[in-house]
Subunit: 250 residues, 2 copies
């Protein structure tokens, strides 16, 4: 949910085993200004560097599962991550898609309240929770920044509740595309056409729809001239103003 304006061209930084930690040079972090680590003094940054490691995931790799002991916080460096909750019978609700600059893993309890999995090849920074907490105690500015980020997450979650509870399939898809586009622009990338790296099924689980309905609605928007579907999972928003209206329920 954070802002980001650095071009990351590829996904892979250094080929390491899945989940294996790697010493990361925070000084060279390209997304630092949008993360918890923004605006740190050099000595603070050094302390962060001392506890952080890097994790690399392949498409589909799990990062952690709901109920697991919450031992780490993460910051997405490149790629994309999906976070979701499950019902006993397998029904799934995505609670978010995370892109470079976004953080995840914050847990009030001792365990994660949701699962996280890589949508594409992804690299993350990993902070041991205990150590980070101790750092936050000593640097209230960092905690203040974290509060701002969590508050923003909460506002985004409330917007999503409005979508899930009250918008039609059409409005949901329009809102979704616009959200992806805005976040892409915030990361300094092209907002149109927008890259849609997740599957129809994932999109459905994010919007409270089935794959079929997602597919049909894309088709419908395409035939209505609002969008075109480009190869490589890109969507061109041919009539953005119209999409904005649809998303707002007009």
């Amino acid at each position: 949910m954070a802002i980001f304006d650095v071009k990351t061209t590829g996904q892979v930084r250094e080929p390491i085993a899945r989940g294996a930690p790697l010493r990361a040079p925070c000084g060279a972090c390209t997304v630092r200004h949008l993360t918890l680590c923004a605006a740190l003094e050099p000595h603070e940054l050094a302390e962060i560097s001392a506890i952080v490691s890097s994790v690399e995931l392949a498409r589909g790799d799990p990062l952690f599962d709901e109920g697991e002991p919450a031992q780490h916080l993460f910051n997405v460096t490149s790629g994309a991550v999906k976070v979701y909750k499950l019902l006993a019978d397998g029904r799934r609700q995505m609670t978010g898609f995370l892109f470079p600059g976004d953080f995840l893993g914050l847990a009030n309890e001792e365990t994660y309240a949701y699962s996280a999995e890589a949508v594409t090849h992804t690299v993350l920074c990993r902070f041991p929770r205990r150590k980070l907490e101790r750092l936050l105690e000593r640097y209230p500015k960092m905690e203040h920044r974290l509060l701002g980020m969590v508050s923003h997450e909460l506002a985004v979650a409330q917007e999503q509740m409005l979508l899930l509870g009250r918008k039609t399939a059409r409005e949901k898809i329009a809102s979704f595309l616009l959200m992806l586009s805005r976040r892409s622009v915030q990361r300094g990338q092209n907002g149109n056409p927008v890259v849609v790296p997740m599957s129809r099924n994932d999109i459905g689980d994010y919007l409270g729809l089935t794959t079929e309905t997602v597919s049909r609605t894309f088709t419908q928007l395409k035939q209505g001239g609002s969008i075109s579907l480009l190869p490589g999972g890109k969507v061109e928003m041919a009539d953005r103003a119209r999409l904005e209206d649809i998303a707002e329920g007009l």
Copy 2:
């Protein structure tokens, strides 16, 4: 969303004009241990007392509207508040019901991202935002506590996304009753029968349903022997285990 275990018998503390501020004695606050003000040193409490005032609302009175400048934070002292977002055509999504001990009004931007209105006669503490922010700067412990509260709100919001996106009407109503019951117990009140102070319409807007569907689903649960509807807006959970199963999708 906060925890609370003090019995508040009535709603009215002191009859004052709607929305009018009143000097409040924080030292005597019965819900302090669940709020931002929990575990403060006496001198910190004195500083809070110096900036806080009290607000009293009648049933249906607005507290603030989405888009309005966010000048205050609030803490519910007694009563109940609903917070919601609207679409252009009037469709409404409740994002939460707040009870004694809960706070509201946190805004990342300069304006409120949602509207708030009293469900019943309600009393709140009011903190000027700027002054509270200055206090938070000086007392990182308070900010730490606030972070914990917001994180909890976020976890609740994610649970609600699962409900809105993936649960059936039946499962939604069962989940809703159990949530009210749990929060009632946390406030030290009777969890069964549970008091349901809000209208069918409000419940529908919270669960992403219409009034009619809410009403029908209550009837259905009643006929199935899971609940009984008592006078005074109370609901007896005759078979709580069954409700738990329904809520989990079993």
